[in-house]
């Protein structure tokens, strides 16, 4: 068995940022394990711009953003091993890996950062009825075919789901000469960023059908038609509202799921709300010395936030290796009214200022986020607009946390006044 101080599973934006910050904190034996042919993760196929406005104060494409980090990591002694799959991880931080170069190998890690990212929900996950013809792709798989392999997947396209990858692909397919007929969203609001609705749908006159879904898929061999129906408040299709689109391609952008099979194997406690590990403010999981960051922890909207979170996880992993761990009484964070989840799920009271990330469950205007200690409101943050497609964040200063009486803080949205 070989040993490494810090092993990072995943060489996407989260893994790279965690490695870089751990290096900056003085850790000198860092190994990144990446399953794909190249590091950079899903950014490599995101050739559109809009990345890096927060992190680098300029607008970059996905590969450029990944390139910035790869350049920075390249100047350190961090090792990146590509084409390497982690098959197993246990609670003693032993990893079993396989690669063409090194074969089957067991590695004992001093600390581990989980940065495996997420995967797309599929047709099966939402049980769309209809024919089992070809021409149905998750938006990310289609994106890989276009942007990495250089192949077109079809000419007349319907997109189900208004997640960001679906919106980006609506524009990308249009620019490649395909006709995108419609983007169909089950919910009464979009799941993606507002700027993507404007730049990817509106600018190309692609209609967005909210409160609609695909109710049938037709085609003997290749997809020939999809049937789209309106849904009621319970999301059940309304008979008589069917629209038929003649198309050869259906792209699915119906949600992302953190890929935590390895975390589960190791026994990391998973939050059913995020489908990611339960973490402390330093992104340490329920297993000491195992940290998680990026989309494996919770699905982010902007890569800039992934980088920031992962840098924090890298710093914490370095501190763990240097024998420093956060202390202080535990404070639990509870999602309250209309809050889907919180990350972190619990904090140490003496940890300093703490940033809390979450998503709301519905579109909200002119409201406020409230933090409650028992029945007492201890903080209130005004917001003009909040939507499930965009991640929210609030910062709780240390002085405020010090004053908390109970052992649980509730984060909730203020109900609109009647």
């Amino acid at each position: 068995m070989t040993t490494h101080e810090l092993v990072i599973i995943g060489g996407g934006p989260a893994g790279l940022a965690a490695a870089l910050s751990a290096w900056e904190q003085g850790v000198r034996d860092i190994l990144i394990l990446e399953r794909d042919k190249e590091a950079g993760g899903i950014l490599n196929q995101c050739i559109h711009n809009g990345f890096g406005l927060h992190r680098f104060q300029e607008e970059l494409t996905g590969p450029e953003y990944a390139g910035r980090y790869l350049d920075l990591v390249g100047k350190t002694g961090v090792q990146i091993r590509t084409d390497t799959m982690v098959l197993d991880l246990d609670e003693r931080r032993v990893l079993h890996t396989i690669s063409p170069q090194y074969g089957y190998e067991a590695i004992q890690a001093g600390a581990v950062v989980l940065a495996m990212g997420c995967r797309e929900r599929t047709r099966g996950a939402i049980s769309i009825p209809g024919a089992r013809c070809s021409g149905i792709f998750t938006a990310g798989a289609a994106q890989r075919f276009l942007n990495i392999e250089g192949y077109m997947v079809g000419k007349r396209v319907v997109i189900l789901g208004s997640g960001d990858i679906g919106l980006i692909m609506a524009r990308r397919m249009t620019l490649e000469g395909a006709k995108v007929l419609a983007c169909v969203e089950l919910m009464p609001y979009s799941g993606g960023l507002n700027r993507n609705i404007v730049q990817c749908l509106n600018d190309f006159d692609i209609p967005l059908y909210l409160s609609h879904t695909v109710t049938d898929i037709r085609g003997k061999d290749r997809l020939a038609q999809v049937v789209v129906s309106q849904v009621d408040e319970t999301r059940a299709p309304i008979a008589g509202t069917e629209m038929v689109f003649d198309c050869d391609t259906l792209l699915l952008s119906v949600g992302l799921l953190p890929e935590n099979e390895l975390s589960r194997q190791a026994g990391v406690v998973i939050d059913r709300r995020t489908n990611g590990p339960v973490v402390w403010e330093n992104r340490e999981t329920s297993i000491p010395g195992v940290f998680a960051c990026g989309n494996v922890l919770h699905v982010h909207d902007l890569v800039d936030y992934v980088s920031a979170e992962s840098e924090a996880a890298g710093r914490a992993a370095a501190a763990f290796l240097q024998g420093k761990s956060p202390e202080g009484p535990e404070l639990k964070l509870e999602p309250g009214f209309d809050v889907g989840y919180t990350v972190p799920q619990h904090v140490h009271k003496g940890a300093g200022d703490v940033e809390i990330f979450f998503r709301v469950r519905s579109v909200r205007r002119n409201t406020a986020i409230r933090v409650r200690d028992g029945q007492t409101q201890i903080a209130r943050f005004r917001r003009e607009h909040m939507a499930p497609g965009e991640m929210e964040t609030i910062k709780l200063p240390r002085v405020l946390l010090d004053r908390v009486q109970g052992d649980t803080l509730t984060i909730e949205i203020e109900e609109a006044e009647a």
Partner: protein
């Protein structure tokens, strides 16, 4: 004559006949309309080797089911096909079901099913803790098993080809005319002559029989829809869980698969022979019926729905034997459930039928009787290293969900019946069968198939002819 025996249709029944016949000194041809074998009912069914208490005593069904079950284990071991004898339980969920259990039990005894046992409520729940607390009792059949049906078909067909059978894919039968001592069978490319013809055409067996002038039976295709759940649900039950057939229908089953997933289904609806579309109604019916047996099934863990078409017929038994209207034509038709269970016994059955028809059977001296397939994730650490050292492609994981390596995919592409589609590769090695459903590995599999078979990526299909995946290059895509 081109052939002594010509098999029409290479599902599991055709393949079982082929494997048995290929061991003998005769000229054997196999016609398959699709671009791969195992692509009809064989790839979309409940994957069960039934114990044999369902068919009425005295039928061909009853005899071949029990015989097939008895032979399944040795056959699967010989051909390296995943098979597990996990046993089945038929649950009685209401008072009216209890006499049905008794009937099934007695039928099973008459059919020669081994070790059948009627269990009390407590015994049932002890054996299967996730069964409904409403259960009143059950029929336990320890001999029932689960199998990978399409791999069974591949294994049988590959072995037949290794032993000299000539397999012709994408070769539908267009017509047939009697000739001196046999048949001339018309296909798009040429006319093929054979002394005997075996009709193993599944859901289209009646149409094939009619080309030979035999209109003695009609296939009544019946579609069954299924849910396939993630491996996280794979241990929800430990046995095949059936419901009692009742006025409400045959009931749906809940069973682990040999791959470790959970299979739930099927529904039963009249359909066209090739209609494998899922319907909202069919899926809802499967869900609502399944939770009667196993209330805790987590359907949110679903990774795929599919539908298969069973070759039901207007005859209550298998239609298995020489055609009375077309001498030289042997029908193996209407082989719906327990057709898969019968498959391991079909080989011997067809040998005795053909011998009875005057075909001289001389065993070949040099016959391949075994098959092996390396499943990387099942190897020991040392074996894994050995494989990677010999060929680094065995260290490159292409399908992350099912841990399938490039080495396995390349090997499958060079078997006697190489897959020519993404789903063909999926069925052979499992790439794309997992929770991401090929979202990540699909493009890489597409590329490997094109490379290994010398095709352009746009020529690589998802599955059967016409299921294209890519329509051309992007602007400047040639440089990609």
């Amino acid at each position: 004559m081109d052939f002594d025996v010509l098999i029409i249709g290479c599902g599991v029944i055709g393949a079982a006949c082929a494997e048995a016949l290929a061991a003998y000194d005769l000229r054997l041809g196999i016609l398959e309309a699709d671009n791969d074998v195992a692509n009809g009912t064989t790839k979309a069914n409940s994957a069960i080797i039934h114990a044999g208490y369902d068919p009425a005593p005295g039928t061909i069904m009853a005899r071949l089911n029990v015989a097939g079950n008895a032979r399944a284990e040795a056959l699967c071991r010989r051909l390296d096909v995943p098979f597990r004898r996990i046993g089945s339980l038929v649950l009685a969920l209401e008072e009216a079901d209890l006499p049905t259990l008794r009937t099934l039990y007695e039928r099973g005894l008459a059919n020669g099913v081994p070790e059948l046992k009627l269990l009390s409520r407590e015994e049932t729940l002890a054996l299967e803790p996730n069964a409904s607390p409403e259960v009143l009792g059950s029929l336990y059949a320890p001999s029932a098993g689960i199998v990978n049906p399409w791999e069974l078909c591949y294994a049988l067909a590959e072995t037949a080809v290794r032993n000299g059978a000539s397999l012709m894919l994408e070769t539908p039968v267009l017509g047939a005319s009697p000739i001196e001592g046999g048949w001339a069978v018309k296909t798009p490319e040429r006319t093929i002559t054979s002394r005997f013809v075996l009709n193993c055409a599944g859901t289209r067996a009646d149409a094939v029989a009619r080309l030979f002038g035999d209109d003695s039976f009609t296939i009544l295709p019946s579609k069954g829809e299924y849910y396939l759940l993630d491996k996280s649900e794979g241990t929800r039950v430990g046995h095949v869980i059936f419901q009692c057939p009742s006025k409400a229908g045959k009931g749906v089953l809940v069973a682990p698969t040999v791959h470790g997933n959970l299979l739930v289904g099927p529904s039963a609806d009249e359909s066209e022979p090739t209609d494998t579309a899922n319907t909202a109604r069919g899926m809802a019916l499967v869900r609502s019926r399944a939770v009667r047996s196993v209330p805790s099934i987590a359907f949110r863990e679903n990774i795929r729905n599919f539908a298969g078409v069973r070759a039901n017929s207007d005859c209550p038994d298998f239609i298995l034997g020489p055609s009375k209207k077309a001498p030289g034509l042997i029908n193996l038709a209407g082989m719906r459930s327990p057709g898969l269970s019968a498959a391991p016994a079909v080989g011997e059955e067809i040998l005795s039928i053909l011998a009875g028809q005057g075909l001289a059977l001389h065993k070949k001296t040099d016959v391949v009787t075994t098959r092996r397939r390396v499943r990387f994730h099942e190897l020991s650490e040392a074996e894994k290293n050995e494989m990677v050292e010999r060929d680094p492609r065995w260290g490159r994981i292409i399908c992350r969900c099912e841990t399938v390596t490039e080495g396995e995919i390349v090997e499958a592409l060079h078997t006697p019946i190489p897959p020519r589609s993404v789903n063909g590769v999926k069925r052979r090695v499992g790439a794309g069968m997992g929770r991401c459903q090929g979202g990540f590995c699909g493009p890489r599999v597409q590329e490997i198939i094109a490379r290994e078979l010398g095709l352009d990526q746009t020529q690589v299909l998802m599955d059967w002819p016409g299921t294209w995946v890519l329509c051309g290059r992007t602007k400047g895509g040639e440089q990609a």
